[in-house]
Each structure stands twice: as structure tokens, then as C-alpha cells.
């Protein structure tokens, strides 16, 4: 059994007619429930539930404080390479985009790591395009060796891998995996990934499970919002997170609700996702998985992010750059435009002003095994 | 010559019943043993050498040296 089989159960599910039958009383009852079922989660994602956002927000806020405290974890992305063999029509790094391709060498990785570490951050998320030729596992591993000197937590957001490859990276010091399914609807998925290894929907979907089996500590899943109707995508993302949490109770599971942003070779999002939609998604997920993490990146603008802190967010990026060597003043296109340009210290000040504590370091891996 | 061992006599057997040593006469069947003990055959079940034996067969089982019997009964329990 894998999540791929789980999601198949919904192949013929009619979301629209389910939503039509929901009335406000169903929503109110669901908000008050101590434990939400899959169906309850979907009720909170319904158009009807938009009438109860404030009630959902109050409960989501309390639950977040109860389980996480008044803290936000800060991290930043570090783009190692933008070589990519995939054809994702919505991505700035896709193979057909004429752009200068770049991969950091190890001294450049060191240099950028030093700049980031000077801001106080201890958690880093490293990213590459999908190219096993230009950024093979061995390259990622060497980068991790460099980064270990500066950071206590290293997460990867790279192409999906086999279990033994995850195990190899975990042994090298990686403790977190972020991998977005992009879109859970399998038909839309094949339309948007016309060629390249990423066409393999199932291999990507089962990547978090493989990483969990390999011993990863945190996984972060998500759908890229705008590629499909958001309600069903939010639903499947939540189910995916819940599935992982049930199967791997020792792993910290979180979701990201990334909304599409403008990028090189612009692909306008086919489906709109408003601020209100984003908020509803976060609140519904928080009520469904009170202990699940919610990561909000700099795709969202500063003003909105300031509000999302009290609406279930647990982790935020700061001082971001989405281009390779972005902090080294390389002239290179980013994967997407960021909307919140604030530095780490500016984010920290904003958090303090809201009564929250920024957390830079959540743990320290003790690498040596006792004899 | 006088033996230094206890002679049990040719016509008795050592058996284990419900975990305890017992002595039975040679030629005793399971049914005989139950009768000697005064159990109502309708209320008990017998495990003979780790295998449940139905009451119809008790007449035909001749006890041998070192046989193990459990005489059991269903009782009240939660």
C-alpha cells in the first residue's frame, strides 16, 4: 500500500456535488469537533465554509499555539543548480527556457552558506533542478558536507530519488525533504509534464514514503496552487500529510500551500486562488491536523504573511533568493519572483512585534553513533 | 543382588496428569482413568500428549509410560 493507492479511491469522487450538500450548520459542527475525519476536512474546504472563516481562524489559532507555541521557524532556500531536464510548463527552470544555466561549485556553496549563516539562520533548504547529470546525488552529498559546517538542519527540495539514495543523503546529514506533487489530479499532471522523468506521477507521489522509510526526520508535501481547482488539491495534500503521519508517526509532517508566481517564460495560472482561499486552506488543514506544520514561503507578500502567522503558519522563509548564486550577485534568473523581500532580521523584528519568537535552530544532529 | 534403585514393579506406569506425577496400572485406558478419578466425562476435555482427543476415543487409548494428560473444563471467565 502506498498513498498512490489511497488517492485512487477518490478517482470517481464528485467534489462539486459533495460541496453542494454542505450547509453552514455542518460547517459549524465540524469546526467544534475534537478530531476531524477526511470528510470533515473536506467540509471545511467547501465554499460554504467561507462563511465561517473567522470561527475557523479562532480555533486554528488556539490549536497552533497549543501545539507549537508562539514561535515561527525561519529558514532560507539555497539554489545550488538550475540545470533541468523536465518540461514543467509552469516553471522558470524548465529545459526549454532559454536562460543561462548555472551550478555552484563547492567554494561558491561555502561562500553563500557563510553569507546566510551570518544572518543567524541554522536551517537551510537546498534546491536544484532535475538533472542527474549536472546535479547527481554525489554532488548534493558534497554540498551537504560543506553546508554542515554552517547549519544544523539541512532539507532538500530536489528530484525524487530511490530509497537507498535518500538513505545516502540522510547519512551525509540531510534531515528534511520537501517535495511537491505539484498537482494531485493525474490527468492535469500528465498535461503539465509532457516529457522528462517527472512524467512519472507515481514515482514522485511515493517519494516522501521512500524518504520516511530511509529515516528522514521531516517531510513537507504540497500542491502548486493555481494548476487545478484548489479545493480538491488542498484536500489531497492534507490526505497525503495525514497518510504519512499515520504510517510514520516519528516523522514531522508538514504541508506548503505555494501559490504560483510570475516567472520567466510566464505561464498564467489556469485557476485563481485568492488570499481568502489560501487562508481557508490553511485553517482547514490546521483543524484537520493540529500538529501538522504549515510552511509559508516568500511567494506571499509581506502584508499577507504578517497575518498568516496567526492563522496556522509554523515555518517561514526569510532573506530568500530563488536564483543560483543569488546572494553572490550572480546575474541569473530566479525560479519565480519573490514577494516578500525582507531580510532575516526584519522578519525577526516583525515576529517579535506580534508577540512571536523567531526560531533559527530547532535541533542539533549528533552525527556520531555511539559504539 | 540387591538393587540400589526403587523397583516400581512391572505392572505400573509413570504418567503426568495436569502437570503432576501420577502412577497408573498397566492396561489402564484414558476412560478408566477418568472413571477412577470420578470425573463426569460430559464436562471435561482431554489433551493427550499435547493433542485433544475426543471422548469417543478415550476407551481405545491405552496409557503408556511418560504419557502427558491435561484434564480440562470450560469454566466461567471474562
Amino acid at each position: 500500500m502506498s498513498f498512490y493507492e489511497e488517492i485512487k479511491k477518490y478517482a470517481l469522487f464528485d467534489f462539486e456535488s459533495f460541496f453542494e450538500r454542505i450547509d453552514v450548520r455542518d460547517v459549524r459542527k465540524t469546526i467544534a469537533r475534537s478530531r476531524l475525519s477526511e470528510r470533515d476536512y473536506l467540509i471545511l474546504l467547501s465554499p460554504t465554509a467561507e462563511q465561517c472563516l473567522e470561527e475557523m481562524a479562532q480555533r486554528a489559532h488556539r490549536l497552533t499555539i497549543q501545539h507549537f507555541g508562539r514561535v515561527i521557524f525561519l529558514y532560507t532556500p539555497l539554489y545550488l543548480s538550475n540545470y533541468c531536464v523536465n518540461h514543467c510548463v509552469y516553471c522558470g527552470f524548465q529545459v526549454n527556457n532559454k536562460m543561462e544555466r548555472k551550478k555552484l561549485n563547492f567554494s561558491e556553496v561555502d561562500e553563500e552558506a557563510r553569507i546566510i549563516a551570518a544572518t543567524g539562520l541554522k536551517h537551510i533548504l537546498i534546491l536544484t533542478g532535475e538533472s542527474r547529470k549536472d546535479s547527481p546525488v554525489s554532488y548534493i552529498k558534497e554540498c551537504v558536507e560543506v553546508l554542515k559546517k554552517y547549519f544544523t538542519s539541512i532539507s532538500i527540495e530536489i528530484y525524487p530519488m530511490d530509497e537507498h539514495e535518500y538513505a545516502e543523503l540522510i547519512a551525509a546529514g540531510v534531515d528534511g525533504l520537501t517535495i511537491y506533487q505539484e498537482v494531485y489530479d493525474e490527468n492535469i499532471y500528465s498535461e503539465l509534464h509532457p516529457a522528462g522523468p517527472k512524467r512519472n506521477y507515481r514515482y514522485r507521489m511515493e517519494a516522501p514514503e521512500r524518504a520516511c522509510r530511509a529515516g528522514i526526520r521531516t517531510v513537507n508535501v504540497g500542491a502548486l496552487l493555481g494548476l487545478n481547482r484548489w479545493r480538491s488539491e488542498a484536500f489531497f495534500t492534507g490526505l497525503h500529510a495525514d497518510y504519512l503521519q499515520n504510517r510514520f508517526p516519528d516523522v514531522e509532517v508538514s504541508i506548503s500551500p505555494p501559490r504560483m508566481r510570475p516567472h520567466l517564460g510566464g505561464f498564467p495560472p489556469p485557476f485563481a486562488v485568492t488570499d481568502k482561499n489560501l487562508v481557508q486552506y490553511m485553517l482547514a488543514f490546521r483543524l484537520f491536523m493540529p500538529r501538522g506544520g504549515i510552511t509559508v514561503s516568500t511567494r506571499e507578500r509581506a502584508g499577507l504573511r504578517d497575518h498568516l502567522i496567526k492563522l496556522g503558519a509554523t515555518k517561514m522563509s526569510a532573506g530568500s533568493s530563488t536564483s543560483v548564486g543569488g546572494r553572490l550577485d550572480f546575474d541569473s534568473a530566479g525560479q519565480f519572483e519573490i514577494s516578500d523581500e525582507r531580510s532575516v532580521s526584519e522578519m525577526a523584528m516583525m515576529l517579535y512585534s506580534q508577540g512571536y519568537q523567531p526560531v533559527y535552530k530547532d535541533w542539533q544532529m549528533i552525527s556520531e553513533e555511539p559504539p | 543382588m540387591v538393587g540400589f534403585f526403587v523397583c516400581r514393579g512391572r505392572d505400573t506406569l509413570k504418567i503426568f496428569v495436569n502437570g503432576k506425577d501420577e502412577v497408573a496400572e498397566d492396561g489402564t485406558t484414558v476412560a478408566d482413568l477418568i472413571a477412577v478419578k470420578g470425573f463426569n466425562p460430559k464436562t471435561i476435555i482431554i489433551e493427550y500428549n499435547y493433542e485433544l482427543v475426543p471422548s469417543e476415543s478415550w476407551n481405545g487409548i491405552l496409557l503408556k509410560e511418560d504419557d502427558r494428560l491435561e484434564i480440562l473444563r470450560f469454566v466461567g471467565g471474562g
Partner: protein
Amino acid sequence: MEDFLKIGDRELTSRLFLGTGKFSSNKLIPEVVKASGVQVVTVALRRVDTAFEEENIAAYVPGDCILMPNTSGARNAKEAIRIARLARAAGCGNWVKIEVITDNRYLLPDNYETIKATETLSAEGFVVLPYMSPDLMVAKKLIEVGAAAVMPLGSPIGSNRGLRTRELVRILVEEIPLPIVVDAGLGRPSEAAEAMEMGVAAVLVNTAIATANDPVAMARAFSMAVKAGRMAYLSGPGEIVDYARASSPLTGFLRE
């Protein structure tokens, strides 16, 4: 819509299971079964040590009940497996309640040995209902090894202390897709109703019924309480609402 409890291949309408220990007379058992409508009745298997004439309890259990032998007396998985096999060979059907106890002070079950026995017996085709200390990881393990239901204790056997393990049982109800049967410790019908309202699938009661002054009436009372609790659960009780008023709205900015 009929509300069945499906365990193994049986569909039960009664969600009260009866234990048969400690009755002042076995003659009460048919009456108790009749008054309460129970369909699952547990019995134990014991060595017969004296010729003192005793009865076969099974003779008092109406034929349409599922006779569920327990493995009480077993101190490890091996013994439990042996007892289960014997009981089945003796005509008890294929249901078995695994009960492995190594602790004579509190009579708490040994979850580790229970998992081992459940694994072997499920593979042999038994419908296995393991009695356990309510523990989420153990329950997950029991699913994996083929249990048909899990039976967490409410409080120690025979203690009549009620549903002391409430929070842990609630977690099992939320997380475990098998029927949860609260076994042991329920002393009063109201406690059985409480367990049923929480969403447990059934309760097993012995001491509270067997040792009441009027066991037949008490059995009826438990039966009614179990039905009431089940009905309340199915009718979706109103959630406890938090009336605290928010000091400031959190979503006001969306209307700006």
C-alpha cells in the same frame, strides 16, 4: 438503517459482550443472556484438579451465542496459543480472546506476548480479539498481525473503577480502524454508556453484572446503557462549544 457490528464474518446487533466468571450460580447465565440480548459470551479453560462434580459452563450458554474462550491463565504467547487451539478443537468455534497476564498484582496484560499470540492465531484462521493495555503503537501492531478487534481495558480487571483509560481509549477510537471493545473495569451502566458515546464498538462486562445483587436486572441495565450510548454516538452529539469570545478578529484583513 441497521447498525451492525462486524467482527470476523459475523454481524452482531448486540454491542454488549458478557463474561461468565464469578456468578453465584451458572443457572443465572441463560437468564442473564436472555435479559441482555448478548450474542458474545466468554468462557475460560481450566485444569480439573478434583473429582468434585462441576458443570460444563458451555452447557449454560444458549446455542446461538458466539462462545469466545479466553486464554486466561496463559503467561506467555506460547501458552495462549495452546489454549486457543485446544478450545477450538473442543468445539468452541474460531473466536478467541487473547489474554496474557504475567502480573498478578494488577492483572495487567502483557502487550508484547499478546501481539505474538495474535500473529500466530490469526494466521491459523482464528478471529482474534486481544485484550490489551490501551497503547496506540501496540494497537497498530495488532492490526498488522491480523487482529479482528482490539480490547483495551477501562481499568484493571474486576476493579469496577470505570473508564479510567478514557484519553488513551479515545485515541484508539480516533486512530484505529478496527472495532474497539472496552474490556475490564466498567462497573456501572453509565460508564458503559460513556464508552459507547465516545465511539467504541462494544463493551465486555463480567464482574459488574455477575456480582450485582440482581445480576439479571443489572445485565438488562447494561444492555440499555450500551444501546443508549450507541444511539447517542450515531446521532452525533453536539460538540462542546468554546464560548470564549475572540478579543480581535483574525480574518478581518480579508475584507479590507
